[in-house]
């Protein structure tokens, strides 16, 4: 359609003099928006009381009698599926649409992401209006989840092409935005629900509508701002190193070929182990600190601890990926796995029965969580080092299936181990030790996979690198 021709890749090629520093804010506008997904839990309680409040009136906070949902209300466990569906469709769509994205360009992909993500909110608002949970599954879970996946990978290869001198820092900035999206999404949702709340309505439906509109507009900023560099563009004064680092290739590997290499699957394990271990502490952060230091940490302080970890998760994405530009990706992951294993081993020893040091436990947890975020942010540059820039966004999309698997395995592993320990009479505070020691084992598996990574063999290189075509290696 001619009306949408401005979205075409060839209409978004930057002219001479375009500042590459406009591209990270464009990418951030997408990631800060879709990162809202991590804050979806703020809607769970209001969604759990919709019928009860509309019958009883007075709003959730204002009515002390509203302490349990109506029989017609949606169950908490059913509501949990909304976020799970969104994350599953994030992984699936990133894997499926990655190749299309490389062909269509970042502008069209960002637009598709904005349409899906905003539509997810609008359909969910309808679901609240008619009280049909399947509409929220379809809206926020499936359609919104597809928006998350396309949006997540949309700026990756473009940023890498604009910042060949600092690819880790560039992608780290965008992926830090995904970590930071919840920081905006949670208070925004709470403020909007407070604003729209009446005696008979918790304001969820109107909040969904307004958030869909706000995020659509914010993402359009990214759509109109993003540009791809001209073929052969390089930063002024920058010369590619004559002798690149051992793992950094000057060649390209097509996404299907990359999928068949050992290196892809080693990196898949690296990401999966790093994320699973990180989830191990994130998932249990609040109860863990309260049980390790029983009587000394209130629920409010534990919530503060979780918030502090979010800051380190976000900051770690930028800091570790930037550091990787100097020390190399492989060495960065060595740090994650070796330092991570040591810190996971030490963490339970800081509890009341050991060193009894809250500051030490907080510091250890903060570093661990920073490395969890750093693992996400450093992996696109690792892929670029191994497979080149040509289809790095698509390859990254497929690698994100490791995240989906870790997202299921991490919490399941932690919960099952704790349940087993509890059933065998192990005190709650001690049951964390076993969980964290299992995480040490996972990190060692990741360490071995990282150690096995070697440059991709020439048989996988893309042979006719005709720069300037649709699938272009800039």
């Amino acid at each position: 359609m001619a009306a949408f021709s401005f979205l075409d890749r060839n209409r978004s090629i930057a002219g001479p003099g375009f500042s590459r520093w406009l591209v990270p804010p464009a990418a951030l506008s997408i990631h800060l928006a879709i990162g809202q997904a991590y804050a979806f839990s703020v809607f769970k309680k209001p969604l759990n009381y919709l019928v009860q409040v509309s019958v009883a009136g007075g709003g959730l906070k204002a009515l002390p009698g509203v302490d349990s949902p109506n029989v017609l209300d949606w169950k908490f466990t059913d509501l949990g599926w909304i976020f799970s569906l969104a994350i599953v469709f994030l992984g699936l769509s990133a894997a499926v649409f990655g190749k299309w994205l490389e062909r269509a360009g970042p502008r069209k992909a960002m637009f598709a992401s904005a349409v899906c993500f905003a539509s997810g909110f609008f359909i969910s608002a309808l679901g609240v209006q008619v009280h049909q949970l399947w509409l929220i599954y379809l809206g926020y879970g499936v359609i919104g989840g597809i928006g998350l996946g396309i949006g997540y990978i949309s700026p990756v290869s473009t940023l890498i092409k604009w910042f060949p001198d600092r690819p880790g820092m560039a992608t780290g900035m965008a992926i830090m935005g995904f970590g930071g999206g919840a920081l905006i999404g949670a208070p925004l949702a709470r403020n909007l629900m407070d604003y729209f709340r009446t005696n008979l309505d918790l304001g969820v439906e109107k909040t969904f509508l307004v958030m869909g509109a706000i995020y659509f507009v914010a993402m359009m900023f990214g759509v109109f701002t993003v540009r791809v560099p001209q073929p052969g563009w390089k930063p002024e004064g920058w010369v590619a190193p004559a002798k690149p680092k051992a793992l950094v290739t000057a060649h390209n590997v097509e996404v299907n070929a990359a999928f068949g290499t050992l290196q892809f699957w080693l990196l898949w394990i690296v990401l999966c182990m790093n994320v699973t271990a990180g989830i191990g502490i994130l998932e249990q952060a609040s109860p863990m600190i309260q049980e390790l230091f029983r009587g000394r940490i209130t629920a409010g302080a534990a919530a503060g601890f979780v918030a502090l970890l979010s800051l380190f998760n976000m900051g770690g994405r930028f800091i570790w990926s930037s550091v990787s530009d100097y020390i190399g990706r492989k060495n960065t992951y060595y740090i994650f796995f070796v330092l991570g294993a040591v810190l996971y081993y030490l963490a339970p020893r800081t509890g009341a029965s050991g060193l009894n040091s809250i500051p030490l436990f907080v510091a250890i947890s903060a570093v661990i969580v920073s490395m969890y975020g750093g693992g996400f942010a450093t992996v696109p540059a690792y892929l670029r080092d191994l497979f080149g820039t040509m289809e790095v966004g698509a390859i990254h999309g497929r690698l994100l299936t490791a995240w989906s698997v870790a997202g299921i395995c991490g919490p399941v592993l932690v919960n099952y181990i704790r349940e087993y320990e509890k059933n065998h009479g192990v005190p709650l505070a001690d049951s964390y030790s076993t969980v964290l020691y299992v995480m040490v084992g996972l990190l060692i598996v990741g360490l071995l996979a990282n150690a096995a990574v070697r440059p991709v063999s020439s048989e996988h290189w893309y042979k006719t690198e005709d720069v300037g075509q649709n699938v272009v290696a800039v």
């Binding site: 003099g17 406009l22 506008s29 920081l183 000394r296 940490i297 209130t298 302080a301 503060g304 800051l311």
Partner: protein, 54 residues
Amino acid sequence: MVDQVKKTPAVLVLLAWLFVGLPWTWGVTQLWKNASKLFQSPPAATAPVTPAGK
């Protein structure tokens, strides 16, 4: 004839960063308010009791 290269004005770059930076800063401020609860001393009822005379 000299080629005219249209350079992106620095103010445009600054505005773009403000567009994403301001809501982000607001979000970080909100989060920090929560995080600071960790550093507040526990209420008297939950504070560890120090036996008198020790």
